[in-house]
């Protein structure tokens, strides 16, 4: 019978329309700015720099190795390496970035910088409402805008951050054990040497 197929189709639309009043599966939209979906943990958009402790400038994990700058496919990262070294959060002397810019109008959120970073210093953010009236300046994120605390990282990607923290803690414990061994060895054979920290911190 002509029209049978259309009627059959209309029963489907009716089922979906009426179903949207009772079933969550049929009504999947939400009223966005007022209602928000829970954030999915693996979500990524733009990179940020992680720092330990409370002082962002002192605790920045980045040691300015510039691997991410080289590997970034669209080349949106710009780093200037420091001439001097300063102690990082664990007290070890490291270079630090005097400039660290990410142009998020170029960034394509591929997270290759995160993958190649050997220091777990750069991670992906989940903040997406970043529109700006200034096309160039407003989308060029500088070091101070990029720096986010480790607590923030733990908040947005809990599973991943816990694993990273555990790995870092293990590494630090290993380094400390090694340092203790060398100091013990030094104590056994006394060597009058000034601590390097005292000389180079400015």
């Amino acid at each position: 019978m002509l029209g049978e197929g259309i009627l059959k189709g209309l029963t489907e639309t009716a089922r979906n329309f009426l179903g949207s009043y009772v079933s969550k599966d049929r009504l999947t939209t939400i009223q966005f700015p007022e209602e928000r979906l829970p954030q999915i943990e693996a979500t990524r958009d733009f990179p940020f720099l992680v720092y330990d402790g409370t002082e962002w400038e002192a605790g920045l994990r980045c040691v300015s190795c510039q691997i991410c700058e080289k590997e970034c496919p669209p080349k949106c990262i710009y780093i200037e390496k420091s001439k001097d070294k300063k102690p990082d959060a664990t007290g070890k002397l490291q270079f630090y970035p005097t400039t660290f810019n990410i142009d998020i109008s170029v960034c394509m959120s591929c997270q290759i910088c995160v993958e190649v970073c050997p220091f777990d210093a750069i991670k992906m953010n989940v903040e997406f409402e970043m529109s700006s009236e200034d096309r160039f300046g407003g989308l060029l994120l500088r070091k101070e805008q990029l720096a986010k605390s480790n607590e923030y990282y733990n908040k947005i990607h809990p599973t991943e951050a816990t694993a990273v923290d555990a790995a870092l803690a293990e590494e630090r414990a290993k380094a400390e054990a090694k340092a203790r061994q060398t100091t013990e060895a030094k104590a056994a054979t006394p060597a009058p040497m000034a601590t390097p920290e005292a000389g180079e911190t400015k």
């Binding site: 002509l2 029209g3 049978e4 197929g5 259309i6 059959k8 189709g9 029963t11 489907e12 639309t13 089922r15 979906n16 599966d25 999947t28 999915i40 943990e41 693996a42 979500t43 990524r44 691997i67 590997e71 970034c72 496919p73 394509m108 959120s109 591929c110 997270q111 290759i112 993958e115 190649v116 992906m124 599973t159």
Partner: protein, 386 residues
């Protein structure tokens, strides 16, 4: 003297050579036409409502994909492949990873192969669902089928986001495996989506398959014969709808596709309706593959431990890796000269090659049918223009 009377001077530029009888009209469809699935233009010459000539014009979205890849590292090319066919990024990753693996002779661990199959078939599901929705939208069924299709596609995209971090630009695969393992609970969620999908397909087919308007619009429209399909080298659902039994999952058995039992649906008439039906049937077969893959997914590593992702330098040579993408045979041809970036990088895009038959399909059809014929080819301009 006789020049003026015998051959009138044509002051209007246009397809003057085709002016046979009556007035021909040249229409430029696109590039900002809502039905062209991107920035694509067709120079259509019309005799009344009938198409007498059609010239596809593309390149508006050209962004130097192949040349950029020659300046990038092998790892750096991977996120760019996401942006070829931006609907199904995971299968693009897969084809590229396959080419690099062939080039360097990398073995992929078992679990990674299964994860590739699972994500790849999910990609096929969401691509076909989205395509059928868009096809109906092109046909004038404004919204309803598209919304139902997108509702289901959204579930798959949520799975992708939970696994890879992004809904569309997944950047999931690496040469030598996959980037991340599945998070906790992901497999259960995926199982739920896969189990729920047949119900959606039943409803969708109830809504569309026997609909008289759909049949009237699509049956006998845009016919591609078997010979034409083979001669033009088209692949994927387009070729299979014309009855060409060519599915790389069966022909090449790349990855571990030989372990799964599934059927390859074939069309008979090669018209738009067959192409729609074929996709609906293919989705059902994908669900079969997904069920088997989810059941057999082994534990183990997901990356080949001997593969260095950064500073990857395969020895000099060449390789062609191809897969059955949702749109057809997607291939990557790579030449390595031993440096960190490919010497030559070439993509065989299924959309572009399937599009070569557009004029043959459209000749003699109505203007309104161009839109649905183009819709049934399943093009993504990111891949056509590269």
């Amino acid at each position: 003297m006789s020049i003026l009377t015998e051959t009138p001077i044509d002051l209007v530029p246009g397809p003057s050579s085709d002016r046979s009888e009556g007035q021909l009209l040249e229409v430029s469809m696109g590039p900002q036409h809502p039905s062209t699935h991107g920035v694509f233009r067709m120079d259509v010459t019309l005799d009344g409502e009938k198409v007498v000539k059609l010239k596809p014009v593309f390149g508006y979205l050209h962004r130097n994909h192949e040349k950029i890849a020659e300046t990038e590292s092998y790892l750096g090319c991977m996120p760019y492949t996401d942006r070829l066919d931006y609907i199904c990024s995971i299968t693009n990753n897969w084809a590229y990873a396959l080419a690099v693996e062939k080039l360097a002779g990398i073995q992929v661990p078992e679990r990674a192969e299964y994860l590739r199959i699972i994500t790849g078939e999910l990609t096929r599901l969401q691509n076909h669902a989205g395509l059928v929705g868009f096809l109906m939208q092109d046909m004038g069924a404004s919204g309803t089928p598209l919304m139902y299709a997108f509702r289901e596609r959204e579930k798959v995209l949520d799975l992708f986001e939970a696994l890879t971090g992004a809904r569309m630009m997944c950047n999931y695969m690496r040469f030598g495996g996959c980037r991340v393992d599945v998070p906790a609970n992901w497999l259960q969620q995926a199982q739920k989506v896969i189990d729920g999908f047949p119900q959606f397909l039943d409803e969708f087919e109830n809504l569309l398959t026997s609909n008289e308007i759909l049949m009237a619009r699509t049956q006998g429209v845009g016919v591609v014969t078997r010979e034409q399909a083979i001669n033009a080298g088209i692949s994927g659902p387009m070729a299979r709808a014309s009855g060409v039994n060519y599915d790389l999952r069966k022909v090449d058995k790349y990855g571990i596709y030989d372990r799964f039992s599934f059927r390859v649906p074939l069309g008979e008439h090669g018209d738009v309706y067959d192409r729609y039906m074929l996709r609906a049937l293919e989705m059902r077969e994908s669900i079969e593959i997904l069920k088997q893959a989810m059941r057999d997914l082994p534990a183990g590593p997901i990356m080949d431990p001997n593969t260095k992702i950064r500073g990857f330098r395969p020895k000099a040579g060449e390789a062609y890796g191809r897969i059955e993408g949702p749109k057809g045979e997607l291939g990557f041809y790579l030449i390595s000269d031993g440096t960190a970036s490919p010497y030559r990088y070439r993509v065989r895009p299924p959309s572009l090659i399937n599009l070569t038959l557009l004029e043959d399909m459209c000749l003699g059809q109505n203007v309104a049918d161009i839109v649905i014929i183009l819709g049934s080819v399943d093009i993504v301009l990111g891949e056509v223009d590269r």
